[in-house]
C-alpha cells in the first residue's frame, strides 16, 4: 500500500526528518486558514496515490491565502489521473538551494536492501538514470551490519556533499532506513530532498510503500490508513471494493463482454490471452489465488455477474491445492441463489474444470444441471461463441 504524501511525511517527522510546515485539509476554506497561519507563500498539493502528480497539475503554488483558496478549490473534488482528490496538503514553500534524491528500497534480484542517492533530485529516479546515470549512487546494505553511520556518510560523500551537509544527509539516509525496517516498507523515498537556505535538508515530497504482506505486524497503522479511504460510488469501483472486501486476490475490469474467473494468476493470464487470441473481448479478469474456498468463488461470481457488461462468464479451474469438489459447491451454491440476485438476465456461464478431485467436482455440477469442459480451448471457444451471439 502506498501512503499518501501527508501520511508519509508524518512518519518522516516522527523519525527526525525535517518536513515543510503544513496541514492536510479537505475544503478551500480550511486551506485559507492554514495558508494564513503559515504566513508565507505555500504549495497546494493534491493527495493522491498515483505517480506523476506534478506533471498532471496536482501541485500548485500560491503567493497569498486567497490564491491558496482558489487553487484548493480547483483541485479538490476533481480527479487526477482518474483518482478522486478529496484532500490537499497546504504547506510552506521552501526556498531551495539544491534538490537531492534519497531513498531506500528492496532489490528483489539481489535480495538485499539498497540505498539510492543522487544530487539530481526533483525528477523521478528513472529520469535521473536516463539522463545522469553516473550521478546515481546505489549501495547494497550488508545484512550483517545494517546501514552503518559510516556507510551512510560514505554515500553522502559520493553524492558530493561535504562537512555539515554531508553529516545531515547521512542522518536522513539513516532515518529513511529505519522507517523501511520499522514499518516493513518496500520503498521509502525523499524526493526532492531539498537543501534549504539554512543548510538543513527538508523532505519536500515523501513516498512510502508498505508491504501488504506485513500488515499483520502493523495493524494500528494500517487500520488508521484505511479509514481515510472513502467507498467509491461508481459501479466499477464499487465492484472492486466488494472484491477487495471478499478477499478476492485480483479483480480487474478491462472493457469487453466476457468475464473470466480463474483459480490462479498464471492460468488466469493464459485464459485472458487465449480468449483474446480467439477474438473474445474480456471485461473482467478475476483470479482466486489457487486456494480452496467455495465462498470465494461464489462471491466472485456474484460480483462479476453484477456487471451488466458481462454476457458470458468463463470459469477456468485447474486445481492443485484448489479442490474441485469445493469449487463445484461454490458454483452450485451461487446458482441456487441466483434467482434472488440481480445480474444481467441471461448471462451465460461456461465452466472448465480439471485437477484435484475433478470427478467429484464434475458430478456435483452435473447434478445441478451444469455442464463442464475438461479442455481449456473448448471452453474458450464456447465462451467466445456465446459472447458473439450475445
Amino acid at each position: 500500500m502506498r501512503l499518501y504524501e501527508f501520511q508519509a511525511k508524518e512518519l518522516f517527522a516522527k523519525h527526525g526528518i525535517k518536513i515543510p510546515r503544513g496541514r492536510v485539509v479537505d475544503t478551500p476554506e480550511k486551506a485559507v486558514d492554514i495558508a494564513r497561519e503559515l504566513g508565507v507563500p505555500v504549495a497546494v498539493k493534491a493527495q493522491v496515490q498515483v505517480g506523476g502528480r506534478g506533471l498532471a497539475g496536482g501541485v500548485k503554488f500560491a503567493r497569498n491565502p486567497e490564491e491558496a483558496k482558489e487553487l484548493a478549490a480547483g483541485i479538490l473534488g476533481g480527479t487526477l489521473k482518474k483518482e478522486d482528490v478529496d484532500r490537499v496538503l497546504v504547506e510552506e514553500k521552501i526556498p531551495i538551494e539544491a534538490e537531492y534524491f534519497a531513498g531506500v528500497t528492496i532489490d528483489y534480484q539481489r535480495k538485499a536492501l539498497v540505498v539510492i542517492a543522487s544530487s539530481r533530485g526533483g525528477v523521478d529516479i528513472e529520469s535521473i538514470a536516463l539522463e545522469h546515470p553516473r550521478e546515481i549512487v546505489k549501495e547494497e546494505v550488508d545484512p550483517s551490519m545494517g546501514l552503518t553511520d559510516f556507510g551512510a556518510r560514505r554515500i553522502a560523500k559520493k553524492v558530493g556533499l561535504e562537512g555539515r551537509n554531508m553529516l545531515s544527509f547521512a542522518n536522513t539516509l539513516k532515518s529513511l532506513y529505519s522507517i523501511l525496517l520499522g514499518y516493513d516498507a518496500t520503498l521509502v523515498e525523499a524526493n526532492p530532498l531539498a537543501l534549504a537556505a539554512d543548510g538543513s535538508f527538508v523532505a519536500v515530497d515523501a513516498k512510502i510503500v508498505l508491504d501488504d504482506n506485513a500488515s499483520f505486524r502493523h495493524r494500528e497503522l494500517f487500520s488508521k490508513l484505511e479509514t481515510h479511504g472513502k467507498i467509491p460510488s461508481e459501479d466499477t469501483r464499487l465492484r472492486k471494493a466488494l472484491a477487495e472486501r471478499a478477499e478476492i486476490p485480483t479483480y480487474i475490469e478491462l472493457g469487453g463482454n466476457i468475464g473470466i474467473i480463474a483459480d490462479g494468476a498464471g492460468t488466469g493470464m493464459l485464459t485472458l490471452d487465449l480468449t483474446r487470441d480467439h477474438g473474445g473481448e474480456v471485461e473482467t479478469y478475476c483470479e482466486l489465488g489457487g486456494r480452496t474456498n467455495p465462498k470465494l468463488i461464489e462471491e466472485a461470481m456474484k460480483i462479476v455477474l453484477s456487471n451488466g457488461n458481462v454476457y458470458v462468464l468463463l470459469i477456468n479451474l485447474i486445481g492443485g491445492l484448489n479442490r474441485m469438489d469445493e469449487m463445484a459447491k461454490g458454483i452450485t451454491s451461487y446458482l441456487s441463489k441466483e434467482k434472488g440476485l440481480k445480474h444481467k438476465p441471461g448471462a451465460q456461464i461456461v465452466v472448465r474444470m480439471s485437477g484435484t478431485l475433478e470427478e467429484e467436482g464434475r458430478r456435483i455440477l452435473r447434478e445441478a444441471g451444469v455442464d463442464s469442459f475438461d479442455n481449456i480451448y473448448e471452453a474458450i471457444e464456447k465462451a467466445v461463441g456465446l459472447a458473439r451471439r450475445g
Binding site: 535480495k111 528513472e126 508491504d211 490462479g264 498464471g266 493464459l270 490471452d273 489457487g290 491445492l321
Partner: protein
C-alpha cells in the same frame, strides 16, 4: 534421473495438522512420496495418516532423517518456519505460502544462500518428478513420467501444460514451480542449469509471465549454456499496464516487464515461443 527430488527423497511436512497440510500429505503418501515426519508446534506426539508429528523440525529430522521439506505454514509465519528448516540442516525447502512479508523472505534467502540450501517459492505449487516423488500440491493425474523438464512461475499453468504434454504422450522428468515472486529462491536460470545437466531430460518447457526480467536472464543463459531444445510460453500478453495480475511479480510498470520483450529475447536465442499450451507438445516433438 530427475532434478531436485527422487524416489528416495525423505520429506518432512511443515504444518501437517492443518486442513490443507493433512489433505496434501495424504495425497503425497498415496503418490508414493516418502513423507517421514510432520511438524506442527504444539501438536508433537500426534500422528497424521500414520506420519509422526513433532513440535520442532530438528527433532523430526533427528528421529527420521530428512532431505526436503514442504511447508504449508501461512504467510505471516512462513519465513520463521523456513529459517527453522535451514537451521535443522534440510537442503531443499518448498514454501507454498502466499503473502510472506518481503523483508522476512529476504532474510530467509540470504541465510539459505549462505548455507547452500535451495528454496523453492514462496507462493509455489512445489516440485513433482512424475512416478517418483511429489513434493507439492499438483493434481498428479495430469502428469506422466518422461523426458520433458518443465519450469513455471505459476502452479496452475504448469498443470495445464503438463496435461497437454501427457495427453500427447510426452511425459515429464520434473516439473518445478518456482513461485509467483517478486523474490524467488530457485530461479528459471537455476532450473535450466539442472535440466541441462540431467541425462533423462530431453527437452525443456519454460513457462514465464509478465513482470521483472527473469525471462530475459533465462534467454541470456540459454544462449550460452543450454543445448537441449527449449519451448517457451509467456502469459500476460494481453495484460493491462500497471495492474498486478495476481502474482506479486506479474505487473507491467512504465512499459517494462512486457510479454513482447521477453518473447523477443527468447526467440533471439533460438527458443520456440508459442501462444498456448496445445502447441507445446507439437513443437517439442518436432525438436526432439
Amino acid at each position: 534421473m530427475c532434478i531436485l527430488v527422487d524416489r528416495d527423497t525423505r520429506v518432512i511436512v511443515q504444518g501437517i495438522t492443518g486442513t490443507v497440510g493433512s489433505f496434501q500429505t495424504k495425497v503425497m503418501l498415496d503418490y508414493g512420496t516418502k513423507v517421514v515426519a510432520g511438524v506442527t508446534p504444539g501438536k508433537g506426539g500426534q500422528e497424521v495418516h500414520g506420519v509422526p508429528v513433532y513440535d520442532l523440525v530438528e527433532d523430526a529430522v533427528e528421529e527420521n532423517g530428512g532431505d526436503a521439506v514442504i511447508s504449508f505454514v501461512p504467510g505471516p509465519f512462513a519465513a520463521d518456519a523456513a529459517l527453522e528448516d535451514i537451521e535443522a540442516g534440510l537442503g531443499l525447502v518448498v514454501i507454498t505460502a502466499e503473502g510472506v512479508p518481503l523483508q522476512d523472505i529476504m532474510r530467509v534467502m540470504n541465510l539459505a544462500a549462505e548455507r547452500d540450501v535451495s528454496i523453492i517459492g514462496p507462493d509455489t505449487a512445489g516440485v513433482i518428478s512424475p512416478g517418483r516423488c511429489k513434493l507439492g500440491v499438483h493434481p498428479h493425474r495430469l502428469f506422466m513420467e518422461g523426458g520433458i523438464g518443465v519450469i513455471s512461475k505459476s502452479g496452475a499453468l504448469s498443470y495445464e501444460v503438463s496435461k497437454a504434454l501427457t495427453e500427447s504422450g510426452l511425459g515429464q522428468s520434473t516439473v518445478v514451480g518456482i513461485g509467483g515472486g517478486p523474490m524467488w529462491g530457485l530461479a528459471q536460470v537455476d532450473a535450466l542449469e539442472m535440466f541441462e545437466g540431467d541425462i533423462e531430460t530431453e527437452g525443456i518447457v519454460l513457462l514465464g509471465e509478465i513482470g521483472g526480467t527473469m525471462e530475459e536472464e533465462a534467454a541470456e543463459y540459454i544462449r550460452e549454456h543450454v543445448s537441449k531444445p527449449v519451448v517457451a510460453l509467456i502469459v500476460g500478453r494481453h495484460a493491462p499496464e500497471g495492474e498486478r495480475m495476481g502474482h506479486a511479480g506479474a505487473i507491467i510498470q512504465h512499459g517494462r516487464g512486457l510479454a513482447d520483450g521477453k518473447i523477443r529475447a527468447l526467440r533471439g536465442t533460438g527458443v520456440h515461443v508459442v501462444k498456448g499450451p496445445r502447441e507445446i507438445p507439437t513443437v517439442m516433438k518436432s525438436l526432439l
